[in-house]
C-alpha cells in the first residue's frame, strides 16, 4: 500500500510538472510581440515594460519558466489587463459556482444511477433492463450542449418557468432558492451525462458480481436480496464506477463550460470563454492551469478512494 501510494504521488508530481510547462508555454503560441498581443495595441509602454519584466521575456526560455513558476507558487498568476483585477481573485470568485454545479449534478446522477443499476442487474434482459439500457445508450449520443439548449428551449421558453433560463443566475448568499433554480438546468444536464456513464458501468459490473460464488454464499445465509445487493455486491462492483466517476468529474469541470456559457453563469467556464473572446490571455492561462491541476487532483483522490474500497488493488 505504501509503495503504491508513493508511486502514485511521484506520478502526480510528474503530471503537475508537465501541466505547468504546458500552461507556461501557451503564451508562446501567441503570434507576434507577446506583450502587445496580451495587452492590446493601445497599451502604454510602461505597462508593456511591466509585463515584459513579469514574464522575464528577455531571458532564455527555461529561466522564464522558473520566473513564472516562482510567481505561480507564491500565488501570483498575473493581473488581467482588461479588468485590472488579479487573476487569482477572479478565479477564487468563479470557482465556487463550478463546485456547486458539480456537487448538485453528482448527487442527482448517483441517486438515479445506483438504484436503477441495481434493479436492472437483478434481472438482466428483463423489461426494465431493456428500457434502461436502450435509453442510456441513446442518451450517450446526445452531447451536453444539445441537452442544455433543448432543455432551455422547452422549460425556460416553451413552459416559461421563471429563474431557470439564460442570465438568471444569482449568488447563493443573495437568494439561495433562486440560486438553486438558476443552476437546476446546468446540474440536470451534467447529471444526465454522468448518469448514463455510471448506470452502464455499475450495471455491467453488478451483473458480473452477482454471478460470483460469494453472492450465492451470502444468499445461503438467508439474508435479504436488498442486503445482498448493498452489502455484498455493491462494494466489489463499485471500483469501475469510482474510476469512471473520477475521470468524469474531472471532465465535468470542462463540460460545465458549455452550460455556463449558454446560461451566462459566471463560473470558471464562462469566465474562460469570455476571457478568450476578449483576448485576456493571462486570465485564460491561469484558469487553464487551475482547472488542469484540479482535474488531476480529483483523479488522484478517486484512485486513492478505490484503494480503500477494494483492498485487492494495491496488493496486486
Amino acid at each position: 500500500m505504501l509503495r503504491y501510494v508513493t508511486r502514485r504521488i511521484l506520478m502526480l508530481i510528474g503530471i503537475i510538472f508537465i501541466i505547468s510547462i504546458g500552461s507556461f508555454y501557451l503564451i508562446h503560441l501567441l503570434p507576434g510581440n507577446i506583450t502587445v498581443v496580451i495587452e492590446g495595441p493601445g497599451a502604454s509602454p510602461a505597462n508593456q515594460a511591466k509585463l515584459f519584466k513579469l514574464l522575464g521575456l528577455n531571458k532564455p526560455i527555461y529561466v522564464q519558466y522558473f520566473v513564472w513558476i516562482k510567481n505561480v507558487l507564491s500565488g501570483n498568476l498575473g493581473t488581467s489587463f482588461i479588468s485590472q483585477t488579479s487573476v487569482v481573485s477572479t478565479i477564487r470568485a468563479a470557482f465556487p459556482i463550478d463546485l456547486e454545479i458539480m456537487v448538485l449534478s453528482q448527487v442527482l446522477a448517483f441517486a438515479a444511477a445506483i438504484p436503477l443499476a441495481m434493479r436492472s442487474a437483478r434481472k438482466p434482459d428483463g423489461p426494465l433492463d431493456r428500457v434502461l439500457s436502450a435509453g442510456s445508450f441513446t442518451l450517450l449520443s446526445v452531447p451536453p450542449f444539445v441537452i442544455i439548449v433543448l432543455m432551455v428551449l422547452y422549460f425556460a421558453i416553451k413552459l416559461a418557468i421563471p429563474n431557470i433560463g439564460p442570465s438568471s443566475y444569482v449568488s447563493f448568499s443573495q437568494d439561495w432558492i433562486t440560486n438553486l433554480e438558476s443552476l437546476s438546468l446546468p446540474a440536470i444536464t451534467l447529471a444526465i451525462g454522468s448518469f448514463v456513464l455510471y448506470f452502464r458501468v455499475l450495471r455491467s459490473d453488478l451483473i458480473a458480481t452477482l454471478q460470483e460464488e460469494f453472492i450465492t454464499m451470502a444468499r445461503s445465509k438467508g439474508i435479504s436480496q436488498r442486503r445482498i445487493m448493498w452489502r455484498h455486491a455493491f462494494r466489489p462492483s463499485s471500483v469501475a464506477l469510482l474510476g469512471a466517476a473520477g475521470i468524469n468529474i474531472g471532465g465535468l469541470l470542462a463540460g460545465g463550460f458549455v452550460v455556463q456559457y449558454l446560461l451566462s453563469i459566471p463560473g470558471l467556464g464562462y469566465t474562460l470563454i469570455s476571457a478568450i473572446n476578449q483576448s485576456d490571455y493571462l486570465l485564460v492561462q491561469g484558469i487553464v492551469l487551475v482547472v488542469a491541476v484540479g482535474v488531476v487532483l480529483i483523479n488522484f483522490t478517486f484512485d486513492f478512494i478505490i484503494n480503500l474500497v477494494d483492498p485487492r488493488i494495491s496488493r496486486e
Partner: protein, 334 residues
C-alpha cells in the same frame, strides 16, 4: 426402517433442468433418497455428475432464472421445491447451511471475515453488535483459527486457503443448522489440510448434533466418515447403499471403476491407478439407454437402448441401476 420424525430429509423424484441455448439440460433427474437425523451421507461422482447441482437444489439454492425443479424435497417437514425465496430464506442458515467448494471465491473479498460471520448472527438471530462479535470470535475459535480476536478483522486475502475454508465453515455453523451441506469442502485445499478440515467437520457434527451431506469426487473422503453413500452419474443415482456395502458389494460397474481409480493405502507403491475410459456424457445429448454404457466394458445392446431403473441388491437399503450388474461378492472378501 424408522419413524417419520427421525427423517430429516426426504427427497422424492427430484429433477433439475436448466434451459440453455442448446435446449433443456437435465442436470439432475429422478433422484430419491431419505436421510435420518445425525446421519452423514456421501454423494459421490465425477465432474458433471450433477452432485453440486443436486446439493444446491436440495437447499433450494439453484439460480433463480432459467431453471425448472420438479419433484419434492421435504427438509424437516418443509417443502423446498416451489417454495418462495422468502420462505427458503427463513430456513437457510438455521435449518440448512452450506460449506462451499472453493474458499478462494466463496468469501466476499472486500469484507472483513468477522463481518461476514456477524452478518448471519445479527440478521438471522437478531443479536446485538457486541454479542454478535463475541459469538463470531467464539465460532472462529471453534473452527480452529488461531488468535481469533485478531483475525476477526482480517480480509479473506490475508488468510491461507485452509484458514479461509475454516471461515466458510464458521459462517455455515453460525446459526446452528440442523443439516450441513458440504460441497467438496476440501477440493481446493492442500492434501495435508484436507484431513484437518474433514476431521473438523466430523468433530463439529458430533458436538453440534448436525446431519451432514458430504459431496465429493473422492471416495477416500467418504469411506470412513459416512454411514451411507449415493453414487451419481449423469444426473442420476446409479448406486445407493450403506457405505460398507457400496465399498465391498457394489454391483454397478461405474462404482467399481470409481473405486479402482482411487489410490489406496493398501496398494503397493507405484501401483498404476486404473482410469475410466472416455468422458462423462454431454447432458444435452443423453441417449435413451444407460448413460454409462459408452464407457462400460460390460455394455450390451440393451444398455444402449433402455435405461435401467434402481433395483434392490441383496443387502437392505442397497440398490443399483444396471442391466448387467457385477456378480454379488457376498461372502467373498472384497
Amino acid at each position: 426402517m424408522s419413524n417419520e420424525s427421525e427423517k430429516l430429509l426426504i427427497v422424492n423424484n427430484l429433477a433439475t433442468t436448466f434451459s440453455t441455448a442448446g435446449g433443456p439440460l437435465p442436470a439432475v433427474s429422478g433422484v430419491s433418497f431419505e436421510m435420518l437425523r445425525n446421519e452423514t451421507i456421501g454423494i459421490v461422482g465425477e465432474s458433471g455428475s450433477g452432485k453440486t447441482v443436486l446439493s444446491r437444489t436440495i437447499m433450494g439454492l439453484q439460480p433463480r432464472t432459467n431453471v425448472v425443479v420438479t419433484g419434492s424435497v421435504l427438509l424437516n417437514g418443509n417443502e423446498m421445491v416451489g417454495a418462495s425465496e422468502d420462505f427458503k430464506r427463513g430456513l437457510w442458515g438455521t435449518e440448512v447451511a452450506m460449506v462451499f467448494q472453493d474458499p478462494m471465491t466463496s468469501l466476499n473479498p472486500v469484507m472483513r471475515i468477522g463481518k461476514q460471520i456477524d452478518e448471519s448472527l445479527r440478521v438471522r438471530l437478531g443479536m446485538s453488535k457486541v454479542d454478535a462479535k463475541a459469538r463470531a470470535i467464539e465460532l472462529l475459535e471453534l473452527v480452529g483459527i488461531p488468535s481469533p480476536a485478531h483475525r476477526y478483522s482480517a480480509y479473506p486475502g490475508q488468510l491461507s486457503g485452509g484458514m479461509r475454508q475454516r471461515v466458510v465453515i464458521a459462517i455455515a455453523l453460525a446459526c446452528s443448522p440442523k443439516l450441513l451441506m458440504a460441497d467438496e469442502p476440501t477440493t481446493g485445499l492442500d492434501v495435508t489440510i484436507q484431513a484437518q478440515i474433514l476431521n473438523l467437520l466430523d468433530e463439529l457434527k458430533e458436538r453440534l448434533h448436525m446431519s451432514v451431506v458430504l459431496v465429493t469426487h473422492d471416495l477416500g473422503v467418504v469411506a470412513t466418515r459416512t454411514s451411507r453413500i449415493i453414487v451419481m452419474y449423469a444426473g442420476r443415482i446409479v448406486e445407493i447403499g450403506d457405505t460398507r456395502d457400496v465399498f465391498h458389494h457394489h454391483r454397478m460397474p461405474y462404482t467399481r471403476a470409481l473405486l479402482e481409480s482411487s489410490p489406496k493405502v493398501s496398494n503397493a507403491s507405484h501401483t498404476r491407478l486404473t482410469t475410466i475410459p472416455g468422458r462423462p456424457p454431454n447432458l444435452l445429448k443423453l441417449s435413451d439407454g444407460c448413460s454409462f454404457a459408452p464407457r462400460c466394458s460390460y455394455a450390451t445392446d440393451r444398455c444402449h437402448n433402455e435405461r435401467p431403473e434402481l433395483q434392490p441388491a441383496d443387502e437392505p437399503a442397497h440398490s443399483f441401476a444396471c442391466w448387467n450388474p457385477l456378480p454379488t461378492t457376498r461372502g467373498a472378501s472384497a
